[in-house]
Amino acid sequence: MENREEKIHPPFPLSPEGRGRGEGELQMVKYRTYVFVWMGLVTLTILTYTVAVGIHPGGWAILVALAIAGTKSSLVLNYFMHLKSERLLIFKVIIPLVMAVFLVFILLTFSDVVFRGVVE
């Protein structure tokens, strides 16, 4: 019955330093936490809908909508995708890194779009 033994023990050593914490780590997450996050997400969805359809914030509309979308995605990233509980540095910098790359693309594109024809 060696196989059974193998199944009960983690397939790698668990040490307090966090090395090989691996697959046991996420058991900490409570169902309740997920439900609260979901409630927050639904509330923000209703909020963004109400602001856009009911309040008409004019020129600020796009910024308000994007701020709410950003908040929602950070909730999903941190809680549903567990970035908040990741301890390795790479998982901490991975999203800011891709946002930075994206920002560079936006700035380069818009510096072309906005000033094309102006500087000639």
Binding site: E23, Y34, H56
Partner: protein, 206 residues
């Protein structure tokens, strides 16, 4: 000893490596959609009024409903993974099925939306659409491409979750080994995040 029941693990498996690989894939997906978001931003900047008019024709209520459906499916898959980690295989399987059903419901709604639009003669290169201002043509072009590509991702996600359901049922994914399931969950949340941005940009232009 049953050969088929032999332990899956020969020592350590690279849990972090598997997850990092998934994250790299997710980042490439974000940049793929990011490119289209830039395109959207440029065209919207160039013809704000046309985007505004075209956006008004989309069904905001259906879009909001679909947002809530996808958010709920994200909740169910997250709880499903935790349930499996705690040894609740049945609960995990039920939640997985709910997630897949919600994903399909999203696609059905999207299908209705597209069918209505196409019924009104608004689809890429249609004579009715081509007779409209340039900005509106661009808006609907982007609408079909971006929601279409997103819908494709939802479909792929449902298929991946279906594979996970089979693996859970076969006990190939269990509290000792669930990296594939977790990665499938990450993919599903990615699809959710993309929709979180598509929703205000297409449905809520005021």
């Amino acid at each position: 000893m049953d050969e088929a029941k032999a332990p899956v693990f020969e020592g350590a498996i690279d849990y972090t490596g598997a997850k990092l690989g998934m994250w790299l894939f997710i980042l490439s997906e974000l940049l793929l959609f990011g490119g289209m978001f830039i395109l959207y931003t440029v065209y919207r900047y160039k013809s704000p009024a046309d985007f505004h008019h075209a956006s008004k024709e989309l069904d905001v209520v259906l879009g909001t409903l679909n947002t809530i459906i996808l958010l709920t499916s994200s909740l169910s898959v997250a709880v499903s993974i935790t349930a499996l980690q705690r040894g609740g295989r049945r609960l995990s399987a039920v939640l997985l099925m709910i997630t897949m059903a919600l994903g399909l419901l999203f696609l059905v709604n999207k299908g209705f939306e597209w069918t209505t639009k196409i019924g009104h003669g608004i689809y890429p290169n249609s004579p009715i659409l081509l007779a409209r201002p340039k900005g509106e043509i661009l808006f609907f072009g982007l609408y079909y491409v971006m929601t279409g590509l997103h819908g494709l991702h939802v479909l792929v996600g449902v298929c991946v979750l279906c594979v996970m359901l089979i693996l859970v049922a076969k006990d190939r994914i269990n509290p000792m080994h669930f990296v594939p399931f977790e990665n499938a969950g990450l993919y599903w949340h990615l699809v959710d995040i993309i929709w979180i941005f598509l929703y205000p940009l297409f449905y809520l232009i005021t």
